[in-house]
Structures are given as structure tokens and as C-alpha cells.
Assembly symmetry: C2
Homo-oligomer: 357 residues x 2
Amino acid sequence: VDVARAELATFLAARRAEIAALDPRLLPDVDRLLDFTGTGKWLRPQFLLAGHLAAGVTGEVPAEICAAAAALELVQACALLHDDVMDRSDTRRGLPSTHRAIAAAHDADGWSGDSDHYGESVAILLGDLALAWADDLFTESATRLGRLIPALPAWRGMRTEVLAGQLLDLRAAADSGETPGEQVQQALAVNRWKTAAYTVERPLHLGAVLGGASPAVVDALRRYGAAIGVAFQLRDDLLGVFGDPSVTGKPAGNDLVEGKRTVLLAVARSALDPTDARLHRLDDRVGRPMDAATASELAELIAGTGAPQQVEQRIDDLVGTAHAALDTADAAGTRVLPDDAVDLLRRLGDRAVRRSS
Amino acid sequence: VDVARAELATFLAARRAEIAALDPRLLPDVDRLLDFTGTGKWLRPQFLLAGHLAAGVTGEVPAEICAAAAALELVQACALLHDDVMDRSDTRRGLPSTHRAIAAAHDADGWSGDSDHYGESVAILLGDLALAWADDLFTESATRLGRLIPALPAWRGMRTEVLAGQLLDLRAAADSGETPGEQVQQALAVNRWKTAAYTVERPLHLGAVLGGASPAVVDALRRYGAAIGVAFQLRDDLLGVFGDPSVTGKPAGNDLVEGKRTVLLAVARSALDPTDARLHRLDDRVGRPMDAATASELAELIAGTGAPQQVEQRIDDLVGTAHAALDTADAAGTRVLPDDAVDLLRRLGDRAVRRSS
């Protein structure tokens, strides 16, 4: 990941020089994008590197693989910038969100027009720039490795899937005509495409094909990634309602305040009779600002439906599926994934699913 | 261009099938993107095909070149979808803009939440999808031609430049602290990157490198494209104030109503003394709804500053530069561009610069 960070820095320095040559007045805005990119946990690059290891390539990891891994952080920069505009979020990672910071600078400079709208517009364009640059970095790296053609379907799949998952998520929040059972299915589909495919399955797939993995290896990795990725999101759902704010760094019941359409909430709602007063209490409160007492009351209400146990059970089942995928054997009974990759993936998976923050 | 349309349709049908496999509930939104893409004049693909002709390739144009040309219409779909969100435009090409149409469907279906915000969010994601798919289509086509590596710098340059130009345009509208002279320079820089590079220079460049053109041909085409592209935008500026609504299809003085920061307006403002009442009249009125009488009064005011003649002169100079670029000769005195390409580019250029709509 350190090499990936260095590759990203080199790539972005070249893009910054191009922007400066076009018009240096653009640098303050573009520097916001540069400062923001790659400040997260580098989860997706880690899975790409694990996929590469699983391809059985020995020796030092080529710089081009690290560069391809870094490209995932540029896709993520686009996703977060556009998400924050769509969610109207004021903060990101404890700092003002990019569109808010730009709006504040607009105000401070006494510029004309609506500063909020200006901040959102600049953030949309910076997100577009990040997405375009992600493609540039990925395509260059894969081409230098001589592995572009086998990698393109995975790259295309990842971007289509995450955007489709986000569209589904918007729909889920807006379409109030669905039955509780349909809502559970819709929330699971959002997890599958917006989180699992984007965060785990496709990064593993990309690393594998860039390393020249066999179809059997790719298949085992993708099954593992799809299962662990959904389990990762289900753990997130539980932490979003029951997490300890001093550990998660987010307010108690954050998902409830934000009105996230999680599987946990959908399962809880589907467990309640339409006439149950608790259902109305939930629907009245979720998606609004609330004090800690209300957050804790709603958390208890959800716990009372048995939904958390159901979600925990689902996580256990998915971890079982994931571990079985890691143990996939060929016709001769030999495991298709190398031992070191299996060990790494077990560790990464456990960390994703058993965490408390 | 007909083959390019067919290539785009084939590509989008494959993407639609992928989306349907992910979740068929997404089809209504994705179909809006499909219906919208490529409904314009296909100006950029035409320049890409002209660039390919200029490379001196004889015989039928390969389908992959047409597919690469069609990819430009997907970039354009992203630009227009995001532009309409940023400009809060209600219409596009005489129909409701995409975010407005989605908001109206949200209302009609009785969905929950703010329908305007929902429409904007979906339009942002559909724009992202178009940008990602543009890359997929271009990369695939260039790879199949075996010309990806030489084409990548032009492809990267085009996307970076158009986004940089849009960022500059936002700045120009918001930064009220600049001198009239600085405003002219800023408006010219916006034209250079947002219009000229994106619409003419880089499409020609792409077509040329995909056809294996020599550096001399690429250089001549780019000089031609940069000049004609800026002239094209200056003609647009004049039509936006003095155009005949029955021919342009836009209301009289449309650019004045929208408050576009055109070179024409910047030149007019820089010609007026800071104490001139006409300057205040302009600054009071531009960027607001106005009746036809006011639009015509402001057009006369701008004409009175001599700005239109200056802009016409600039167009003539640029056309001269462009024609000189087409006549670029090598050391032996032979023109570097083939005759048929020169003829086509003269025609395309004249149409872009002499039009009345």
C-alpha cells in the first residue's frame, strides 16, 4: 500500500502540473481533490493486492499493480464527493465535506452568487475529474503490465455495479410503495452492488486478472468477495445502530438519524405487524435528528424485533460461504488458492466482519 | 456517423443488458440516459472522423474508429447531464432536462422525499455512468485498433481540459473581483478549454492518432482545431445576443438572460468606463429574466460599444490562423494534410463559424 500511495502521488503530481499549465487559477480547487484523495483506509487497494497475491505471482509486487490499486482510490474520491453532494453531508472524515469547504471559501472571498450551489457544482466537477483520472491511471497501469484486455471486463463491471448500487439505494429511499419483504431484498441488492462488488469482489478480481490468474482462482475469489463484502456491510449496519460512539467515531444511532435503508432496518420493519405501534414509532423517527435517548430507545426497539440476531446469523452464514470459497479445490483435491493468499484473505475478511469501528 | 450511431447502439444495448441482470428496477432510469445519449449534432464524432481522414488512411473507415467517435457522445452526455444540474436548467433540446423529468416521475409516482433533489441525484449518477462507459467504449475501440497507447494522452487531455474549462467557467461567474481585462482573458481561457479543445482540437487529435498520423499532421490539426474551436464559440456568443430566435430556436438574448460570461460581454464591459451608466445597466440586467424589449435594448447597448466588431475581427483572425494551419507544408514545400481532409475541414470549419443557428 505504501508503494501504491507513492504511485498515486506521482500520478496526481503530473495531473496537477497539467492543470497548472492550463490555468493556475484552478489549483486551489484541484488541490482540494488532491488533498482528499486517498485519505481513507485504502481498503479496496488492499483487496486488489490480495487478489494479485492469489494469482500466485511471486517476487516483488510490480509498481504497475500498485498504481492500478491506487486508481481505486480515485474512483472512491469521485464516489465520496458525489455522495456528499447527493446526501447534502456537511462533514466527511471529521472535516467539512468538500462542497461545504468550497462554499465557505466562496463566502470568505465575497464572491457573487449562491455559495452553496457553487460548492456543489465544483464538487460535482472535481468528482468527474477523479473518475476520469481513475480511468487514466488504471488503463495506463494495466497496459504497461500487458494485461489491459483481460482486466477491462472487471474494471467496467466494478464501475457499472457501484453506480447501479447507488441508483438502487436512491430508489430504495424514495419508493415508499414497497412491501417490507421487498425492502429487505432491495437493501440486500444495494449491499451486493454498492458495497460487496465495489469494495471486495471486483478489487480481488482486478488484482487476480492483472496477475494472470486462472479462471478457477478468479471464480473462488469472486465468490469469497461477494460473501465477505455483503457481510462487511451488514456489520456496518449493526454498528450504525448499536456501535459505541467512542469507538466508531460516529454519533450513536448514526444510521437512524441519516435514515439509511439498511438490511437491519428492513428486517426489523418486516418483523413487525402493520398495526404495531412500534412500526409507526420507527417510521416517525428514522431519518430525523434525534437525541441520544431517542437513538437508544429506537436501538432497543430494533433489538426487540430480533432483527440483530437475524443479521448476525446472516453474517455467520456469509462468512461460512466465504471460507468455503477460499477452500475451493480442483478435481485432484488441491486447493486452487495459494496458502499465503488464503491466510491474508482470512485475516482481511475477519477484520472486515468482526470489527467494532 | 451512421456507423458510429450503430456502434453506440450496440454498445449501449450490451450495457443495458448488464443493468437488467443487476436489477431490472434500474431500467427506467438507465433508459433515460440511453434515450438522451447521441441526440445532438454529433459534432465531436465528425471531427474525430475528419482527423482520421487526415491521417491519410484510405479505404473504408474501420468500425472501431466509428466506435471511438461514438464514445465522445457519451462524454457529452455526462457533460450535459451534469451541466443541467449545475445550471438548474429546466429544459434541454426542447424537452424537460433529465433531472426535471426524473423529478416529475417521482412526483407522479407519489414517492417520498424531495423530488427535485431526487432528480438531481439520479442525474449526477447517470452522468457518472455515461463518463465511465465513455471510457469503456473508447478504451475497447482503441485497443482493438492496436492504437491505445498513442491515443491515451489525447483522451486524457480532452477530459481534463473540458472539466478544467467548466471549473474556470464557474469561477468566472462567481469571482466578481476581477478587472474587465482579466474577465476577457478568463472568458477566452474558458473557450479555449471548454469548447475548442473539447469540441474540435482533441477529437481531431484522437482521430489522427488512431489513424497513425505523423506528428506533423497532428500538430497541424491541433492548431487548426484550437483556432476554429475558439472561433466557433465566439460565433455562438454573437448568436446568443444578436441571433434570430426563429433561426436559433432559443429566445432572443438567451445568453444575457442566462448571464453567460462570454468574451462578447467581457469585451463590451471592458470598453465602457467604470462610471458609464451603460455598464451599470448591463450589470443590473444580465443574468435575470427579461422581456424581448429589454433583450433588444441590451443588444443595442452592446453593439454600441463596438464589441461585436471586435469579436467578428477575432473570428476572422482565427479563421486565418486555422486556414494557415491546414496549409502547413513540410520542408520540401508539400502540404502535410491530404487534399480531401483539407477540403472537409474547410467545410466543417466554415459551417461552424459562419452559421446563423
